[in-house]
Symmetry: D2
Subunit: 415 residues, 4 copies
């Protein structure tokens, strides 16, 4: 057991740290100013930063199965995790290293299930960082965390699949530079619960796709990665756009969640470190009733508990990354479920305290606390609400206990 990073991982992390500190963080004010002044798109210096990162070997680090012929540096999940944490300090930093959602999980799917032609046509531009994609699974009106509720139909018609239905929270799907959606729908409603779905590649300019609206979350419109609601009316895509086999959709969707969840969690941890640093700075400078607020026992408690929760969360995510590298998705399933609920909790508590310590300012956009507060809340819903993960974890535990079959009678003195 060793809690130090390997020399290779440490070196990567240090290089990412230097790049972030030298090239990304200083541009944040420019980035914010540009975003405030423009409705869509990216600030021009982003492309320049991406080129620079790629030149330094900080590119596509989030893809542990990166091929030798694919651009970027292949890392294990455990090696990438500390980098993801660094990138999580700013909401837009991951895209500089081409390590941002949802393109990373979409690339993973295409790597795993795409034909050579699909890889050439759809994966390659994502790997180059020249285009964007989205994943369309969740639907309004139904509890999508139970996949059997998904209602969008994908019907074979000669050489085409015809899509009808509604999707929402296909995040990034409505940004102007999003080229295609990976859409999950029902191809065989009579098949068993895990065999009825398929995934097809749907170019965003296909006729019949209507952008109903972009959805605000907690009143906030995300302009970088908007959350669109789409209607699909007889949307036709050629049969070669089917990803994997018919009926493989459920399995594809499941596999998507492992590494992506680790990245997402590590980014949240990076955000939390920024919040703690800001809280500490505020605690040491702000005065109230004649004393530094850091002298007050409640503020001390907030900082102490934030450190506790964050340290626990980080260890758990690092262990999940390690388990995923070593035992694969299945072997790490419990760890992956745990980090989903655990990191969301830590993030929520820490963001809540950051808001409070900044007072009225904490509710504005003048600090990252307000955005963190609502993002943390979203984490408890996205990728399946907490309740679903509690249920899943209970089942894992019950199975494990059954297999262990421990004799517990001697623990019950009179029973």
């Amino acid at each position: 057991m060793d809690f130090d990073l390997s020399p290779a991982a440490r070196d990567l992390r240090d290089r990412a740290e230097r790049f972030f500190t030298s090239h990304i963080l200083p541009r944040n004010p420019d980035y914010q100013a540009w975003m405030a002044a423009h409705d869509v798109g990216n600030p021009p210096f982003l492309a320049e930063l991406k080129a620079k990162a790629r030149a330094e070997g900080l590119w596509n680090l989030a893809l542990p199965k990166l091929g030798a012929d694919e651009p970027g540096t292949r890392c294990t999940n455990l090696e990438f995790a500390p980098v993801a944490e660094i990138l999580g300090r700013l909401p837009w930093a991951s895209s500089v290293f081409n390590c941002h959602a949802p393109d990373v999980p979409n690339m993973e799917i295409l790597q795993a299930h795409g034909t050579a032609e699909q890889k050439r046509r759809w994966l390659r531009p994502l790997l180059e960082g020249t285009t964007h994609s989205a994943f369309a699974m969740t639907e309004p009106d139904v509890a999508s965390s139970d996949a059997s509720n998904i209602a969008t139909r994908i019907t074979r018609d000669g050489d085409h699949y015809v899509i009808n239905g509604r999707k929402w929270f296909a995040s990034s799907g409505s940004r102007p530079d999003c080229e295609f959606l990976l859409l999950m729908g029902v191809t065989d409603p009579d098949a068993s619960r895990t065999r009825r779905h398929s995934v097809v590649i749907v170019p965003t300019d296909t006729p019949g796709i209507t952008l109903v609206r972009n959805l605000p979350t907690f009143g906030h419109m995300d302009r970088v990665s908007p959350h669109p609601e789409f209607r699909f009316d007889n949307v036709r895509v050629p049969v070669e756009n089917l990803l994997g086999a018919e009926g493989a959709g459920f399995a594809i969707g499941q596999g998507r969640l492992g590494p992506a969840r680790i990245h997402h969690c590590m980014r949240a941890i990076g955000t939390c470190e920024v919040l703690i640093a800001l809280m500490l700075q505020r605690a040491g400078r702000r005065e109230s009733f004649g004393r530094k607020i850091g002298d007050y026992a409640n503020i001390q408690e907030w900082i102490a508990l934030s450190r506790l929760e964050l340290e626990q969360a980080r260890l758990m995510v690092l262990k999940a990354a390690w388990a995923l590298d070593r035992y694969g998705n299945k072997g790490a399933r419990k760890e992956i479920s745990l980090i989903k609920i655990g990191v969301a909790r830590a993030y929520s508590y820490i963001a809540d305290r950051a808001v409070q310590i900044f007072g009225a300012m904490g509710s504005t956009d003048d600090t990252p606390a307000a955005a963190a507060y609502t993002n943390a809340r979203l984490l408890r819903i996205y990728d399946g609400p907490d309740e679903v993960h509690h249920r899943t974890l209970y089942r894992f535990e019950a199975e494990d206990a059954e297999q262990a079959n421990r004799d517990l009678r001697a623990y019950l003195p009179s029973g």
Copy 2:
């Protein structure tokens, strides 16, 4: 002890309920649509609804000291409380009865401290509902909950006061139809902590006032009651715009908070009732994994605890209203402090559950849950953060204990 409303209070509440159900709630979709399509201002039917409410005697109910010559119906705090709850079901409903913040507390201040001429010029239009006002106290950079931190200067210069400084969260101050600010600043920095401030009336079109920006809260721009940041550079108002005496600002600010806090809390309770009703509807209709979600023990717990917390909160606010009517601001000071922290807690918990029960939809604006979630969070900061109220309550408790001077030794068996 009697937990029934008096016949008069019940009659008033029933009339408000009928008006709300017949005339306000049905217009909510129109209201939302109008707001989505316009950047500022109010939908035209609002004036019509206000006239109708006034004609039915549902006008200025929030002013327990309403004069015989002032328009509207005078109510006690306890009589108005259930009406405030009804109006709290929709964020814009209070303005239909001219019972909305911040105009109500501003009217109270003008009633209590205004000269006859100030009342004619500034109070009357508010009572008529033809104009709007704001209160400018909080400042960026300092902990304004400790009034001694307030830095904006008000300097006498002949027949004028000259104002220099910055204010923010002067809510509604930047709406186009806001006519004036009540501004608190320092007139005598050498006076004692509670005698150094004064309040002046500042017309919003006075030269030297700069709207720096409107502030988002949790990413959301409030368009009905925006939260502006202002800069004041040598802003001159005539000396007759002084409200009350020089040095009376602290006392004016303190007195402002009693009834207004009750209204605010009852409105929050009204919002919570809507959330509970929506949760129950969702629980009875939504299915997940083959069962109504209302059959799940966790959903049942959420509803049960929401009812518990809301029932407790309502009783406490009603008692505070009763105490304020009977014993005045000072006699009800502990109750007023308690409801500030207590209702914010109940509201936060209930809104959090409502978000979760609606899942992804709960984060959008398709239900009132998302707005409630961030509004509840604000309640823990506005009007003094929780911490300040904990401190205040501790002092009340310590004083009361000292006066009671109970001999506790017999409770400590060996001590």
Copy 3:
């Protein structure tokens, strides 16, 4: 709506307060010393105190249906509630006024369901305070909060009922001066869920009753009201010991819980007031790192939140008492369920803080905090665990919502 006690209730409360302060509290050290030195029984001065209380009209106050021919003073639930709070300050005080559990709920059952002969033989001595009783319902091995799980059999055999089974937590049933048990068992296993049980009176000296053991709770043996486990092997009682009709057991058990729960909750509130008083005293005297601990923000928060939670809890219980007086058990069912979970929560939080503020001493018996801590924990289990009450409350809410049948569509802007 009026939050003041009626003159009669205030007078009663003041008399109880004087009696408690003058005669009960000063004897607490004696009481504790006597209990530490004896294994069973009561200190001799208890009888003297009871006689004195009875002479002053402070007797049997907890029985709202006290007959004209029965000793004591008849009170409403609302009148008794503040007295119960006072008596709750010490665990043994209620018995001085003959207002202690489980004799009070047992007296209520006998009043409501007993024959004249049963009242003469079993109720009268309880009213006189000369004997004790217990209620035997809960069973080991089954979830007794679901009454259909109860397994003890009561079989008719000629002029007798024959009882076989096990009971536990028949509190007070093993004290030497306990004369009889009210025992609930199954008389007709084939009847519907609510018609299969009956209650019989079982003298404690009936052959076939085995005291298996007295149960500790959290390691503590209650010597005043021990929690026995009994085995019943062919225990025979005459048929005239049946209480009410055969099959009425479920209804009898349900009716038992209303007023008793109010008493229990008010006693808990009385305990909490003592804890808050002790916390305040400690906060004002104890020093740590050079300052009074009451100067620390966390201690201030603990006191403030304790007051908030207790004030809320008290209002809710008083409203439940009022509702029970006015609308009966059925009309007050929601309030009665709410106070069960609500007071247990407040009590748990307050006792937890009291333990912490007293540090190591808080874990000993030198303050009432440690006992309060474990008693509060028990409250979340006894009389049905929280989960059962959440379920019940959800159903009440769902029914109420269905009856109200409110049209909520206008609250959902786009839905």
Copy 4:
């Protein structure tokens, strides 16, 4: 980074597991029965188990500085941690391997600070497991977590030290086979805060020591490791009983807490694993309202959160053990503080759920839940209450932030 145990550590853990399962757990019913029947002392088979463990090399594993000439197997903190977890499953198991508190931390102190003669006379018998010791630091009446409050005086008088004062919670100090106390007191009241204390070895049969009483915790008398209160009246010990230098007491006390806290935390984790296993068994067997309680969403949540909290706690403690091995007490100070508050929280939540899932039975001694519930509560007080650790952690964080001196301005868009 590697989350697997080293082969040596795994081998040790597996041997401990086998010993526990084969020899310790099966004797638990005997142990409980013996304890229920005897007031003091140990069951006779304990000595036999200890001999067997020692023969198998499972002896004194908790002493990372075990000398070559001292009996037992030397382990690192990280190697011992998983063994401590196993031993934590039963409260008496640690003593079988001679790895129990408070003897282990006392042995560490004697190893570090004892003279050769002190080691021969006092350490050796502890290493052999033939005697017992206690640590007397905490005092009634003062906040002992602030060492400057300690009041017991140790005065030099010729060849003796004379001790006067009071101590409590000198756990195990009153067991009949306790041979000596390590007592901390003030030798030089005028010295600086960290130089005024000294530690002396006090044989328990020294004249002038009065056992005032054994203290219950939450109503429970611990008979294995009782918590005595002592009075010291002119207790004389020879000067050679001074441990280390005069004035070194504070440093000795500080050093005592590192490894001991890791052991204590790992034992708590072992207890929690038993509780989770019992909860799972109960969830899969117990029925309520017609369904297994494990089918209810709230029970599922309890299990899931328990696993989450325990997994986080374990990782944190293992990291602390690793850091202690690698960087020493000072380098691991933050980790050591974190586990103190973090494990107490996890333990408290898990024990609380275990009590609830077992209902009335959960409050008795028929399961380990009740004892766990009160032990977990004690953890938040012993070794310094949470508040003191929050304060300490805040300071560590503030220092670290100051050293890092990160420029945070670019995170504050407009600030």
